[in-house]
Symmetry: D2
Subunit: 371 residues, 4 copies
């Protein structure tokens, strides 16, 4: 993994700032022959696009993605796919104050400490806008996954907003797209609406927890130690701006379990192994088991808020800051399609890795003729 | 990051199984001129070594590390350092039953599904024994860090065993080495001793949460997106066997915070920026701020337990399994020095990366003469 | 090195085909604070641009490069720099015949064999047009090198066209830019002009040898084995389309030398070591010695010629082919700035790598106070 | 490619110096289920082993390879394979003079300039001894290739010693193993014997050219630009100690050809495409065509000679040096199995890469049912 790239064989490099001419993703290693159109990618970008309702930043970007290379007559050629999104609504003047002051909780100060200079307009690379490029790349990964693993299904949703958790007993996949929060619990969604409205009006922000589930993933993806499927999923999610924690399966809660409680018991069915539970989140020893892959991550609240906070200037003077720009009261909302995109990229990458190292030679349980 | 390697410039590849002739770490990219001896590395390995008290597996390994290359007259030469640990106490017969049966919650089944065969003795690469190689590599990383960043301090400790959390109000660094659990809260340590003894006698296991803190890390290490310092820390910790969740700073709890609560306010002191709190865990936008780096991870309970569990055989038959080998009731104990080692490797790697890309050109706050 | 990327820390990924909307280079890892403008990059692109005289393809491209990211107020920010060149003169109809037939000596057939489909317009990724992206990235590398190593000088020139070698006794750097062949021997240039004119009129093509020299490169860049400076230079040059051989220093001719002849004797001057000769091409054991770095590579003749050649169709039928498009009679001419660009990228990359691993700790000969 | 690693999916990291306790190769990414034994690897090492006749260094090493990991019950498990060779005949005292003096043409001076210190005994990593590790790794790659591509055949041989070229008209594969020079022209071998004997007695050395051919390589391996099969072959060969030039197919000589001469004409046979010639060396646009892969490289003469040469000391004093140790008069002889090993590793790596990205989806010429 290099500084702006992730993936081993399906490699995604994103580039661009929120206030330059454009941003995008350079995708290398995509299998050839995958059918893809700009419209297909646009579908996923539109899910992430800001300004769609009052709960996301009022910055309005068309977020129109263009395919500049690597696709010929509607199919990938196996060469790099360049996905570009032009920036249209930049309003740089909104950001004039933060050229001199560091926002507490924001990358302003560390960029300056590292590089000695920074593009202060809109947060540069740490802007949530960078994630548009991930969603575009993820759209391509989804198309390839669908072609290579028929029936695979990826789904992200919000399970907690601020201190308010959704109720798993009420989860209904059909509800996810029915509210602006991608929440599978309709009652929670309703409560969150009021809660977030109050926060938004006061210029406040709040964190969230997102869960992404992949169903129909074949067993055998991943590797035992540093190339663990969960290692790459953790890195992928933690690489999203504002993410501070990542969990696989039961995650941090596994610490409180005994070995007996944590064991997902196995029985054999005619379709293969069946598990009594999924504490492991579909990954054992870094390798997928065929169960649902379950990943969760926490998104911290945006640091651009209207509450005055103590800070310093680039010149080292003490001061206060209030951020007045157009920002998301709960940036976690827009992180849902981003988490899905990262899951898609990681799964495709590991599918290709597995095919490269092992081909069709993996083990089939109960196949007594195996060598 | 390749399958058994981590790091960009300071690259560690571990190799070996628990029941082969040896295991070790091939370390590439270490700075030249670092003073290192086998005795220095042994110090860290001895912390991790099993069989030291009744709370860890009774397998007794000398875990004696040898430096086979890359060191000349007591100093690194800049070429690959090979660190080898021979396996001495293998008792393969303990593992005969698991050649045919998959332990629930263990990598047995996924290794088979992926590779079509596996070294069933002792878990192969997913054995906790693999972490000895990490601790050796981490010892070298610590020596290099100490030479390059005088005053840097890394410290790991256990903050939760099973459902029992230590009390942060009671934390005392001096207590960490004074109990077998690396627990900074002496009263918690005492309670854990009784709790774990009961579990051990019944052949049960339990999970844990480990925290690792690095003090004195310079500002500016890391990068904005996929090369984020927290991305690499998350990957490093998640790559440890049995880890299911990783947190930076407040971690999953940031989801419940408002932007106002989460903002670590900044004021200027004569020694540089000072922060009112450290929700961020010392990392903003993927780059170190100069505050303490704080990482936490959850270790699940060992799946090798004496409670009978339903499972299947490699031939697809339903059966039960009871694991009778010598195992750790709380493998999290031995994960403490491993977490420290991974932190050391990641920090050194990012120090070299930063020096490579930026040299001494970073920003100094209040330096008005900067270009 | 991944499929469309080269470099370790200064990483260049090129993308795009000759007949898509655009092509470009995604450059990651550039040091921050480097002054760069589109005009500076354009200077190098204009050297490579086709259609400037009768000796290169009459395809006319503006080859105007745009900086889409990573530069703010005229300086690099340390984040990815996206360099895009739009395709303007495509005339796809010229290429209609080759959609069905494979040109002998061309990548047409192998692309089809590998991917099962190809963008047949203009050779896709194997078009010489891909090298425009390298020249743009090389321009950025040159700017960074100039800032970090004052006085460094890179120079490429043609030393052989077809069977006709230039005379080293006549070499004059001032002549290089004075003829359309970048030839330092003015008399050879004159002869080549007539020779190439004849070839061009008959629809024939011819090969060439290019030499690139870097002066003022500090000692210590490179590494002993796979990370050898010459390994990366060889890979960089061999990665250019149509290159079939690479030499460092005396290259293939070293085979004919004795150890006595090959030894570049060393004496000490007040400015450091001085060498009696430079058979080694400035690299010993994979590491720069401070002498001039000398690399040579052979470019084969373009396979797009008017002579009828036997070939087959995608359907497996025997046929003949004559290529009538606008092509270069000696594509080696345009390879000169490309070789320079690759040299610049490799040297900058190794400069950063060295700074990362070693910092300022290298050995100074005669410095008796060294530890 | 990192500093001591090569390969993308089949990754080989070598470690160790000629005078430490051991050296070896850490091989990651090998397909599982490959049958391999130490005896099989030893076969290839014995080909490279010094001290077998008067034409190679009289240093006598058993060069016994041990498999320390990654193989279980005679088959690879898919985890890292550690191949270790212990150093037994070190005689460090032979090298005492060169601790202070730099040998002209040797890496002594550049190691010092880079790292500030070096293991002066026997050249450290730049010793020809490092190549033993490559041969061991190559033996594993050969076994995997044989399993995955039945009928593949790799063959290296010497085509030039000093200024004396073998005669291609006399080439006979059966002769290669029949003389100490791996020369397919028996008469040349006889002449070389006398020539080298004279050089050896006078303490002189000489260069050589090695050619390696792979037959039966499937079409479609490689990638268009930086991941070109020839790029990786060039890097692999150039990474061998003392190599100064690499050629694919006609190599440097392609510069002198016209497009008409260089075109390998294609006709269709019932077994697929047939070519009239193989100027391209089996690679077009970076991708294998199914023809023989042909690579050549030049090995410079050893710099350890008995002729006195001017040099300087580490203290910067002018002096002379005569190297009296046991050295190879033509180190190129031992490079033959090394070249074969590198070819095997690169081909296996690209086979896995191709399988990863494309699977079985490549194009079949004449297959009219393709989509």
């Amino acid at each position: 993994m290099s500084l702006n790239t992730f993936g081993h064989l399906f490699r995604v490099t994103t580039w661009g700032e929120s206030h330059g001419p454009a941003l995008g993703a350079t995708v290398d290693g995509c299998p050839p022959g995958i059918e893809i159109t700009e419209a297909q990618l646009q579908h996923w970008l539109d899910m992430r696009k800001p300004g769609q309702n009052k709960y996301t930043t009022q910055r309005r970007e068309a977020d129109a993605v263009r395919i500049l290379s690597g696709v010929f007559e509607g199919r990938t050629t196996g060469t790099p796919v360049q996905l570009m999104i032009e920036n249209t609504d930049q309003r740089s003047k909104d950001y004039s104050e933060i050229a001199e002051k560091f926002r507490p909780g924001h990358a302003d100060i560390t960029y300056f400490q590292k590089y000695g200079l920074r593009d202060y307009r809109g947060g540069g690379r740490s802007s949530a806008r960078e994630t548009a490029a991930r969603v575009a790349a993820g759209g391509l990964a989804r198309a390839a996954l669908a072609a290579l693993v028929p029936g695979i299904d990826l789904r992200g949703y919000m399970v907690q907003m601020g201190p308010r958790k959704a109720d798993r007993a009420q989860f209904d996949d059909a509800q996810i797209a029915a509210n602006p929060f991608w929440c599978p619990d309709p009652q929670a969604a309703e409560e969150w609406a009021g809660y977030l409205d109050t926060l938004r009006k006061s210029g406040e922000s709040v964190g969230a927890v997102i869960e992404v589930v992949a169903r129909g993933v074949p067993a055998g993806l991943g590797a035992p130690v540093y190339g663990k499927l969960d290692t790459d999923l953790a890195a992928a999610m933690m690489s999203i701006n504002a993410v501070k924690g990542v969990e696989i399966g039961d995650g941090m809660a596994t610490a409180a379990l005994t070995g007996t409680e944590n064991a997902d018991e196995i029985t054999m069915s005619k379709d293969g192994p069946v598990y009594s539970s999924n504490h492991a989140g579909g990954i054992l020893g870094g390798i997928s088991s065929g169960q649902d892959i379950v990943v969760r991550f926490a998104v911290k609240p945006t640091s651009s808020i209207r509450t005055p906070r103590k800070t310093i200037t680039v010149h080292g003077e003490n001061t206060e800051i209030v951020t007045k720009g157009r920002h998301d009261p709960c940036v976690g909302i827009r992180a849902v399609p981003v988490g899905e995109a990262m899951m898609a990229c990681v799964l495709l990458d590991h599918l290709l890795l597995h095919r490269g190292q092992v081909g069709d030679a993996g083990g089939r349980i109960g196949d007594t003729d195996r060598p």
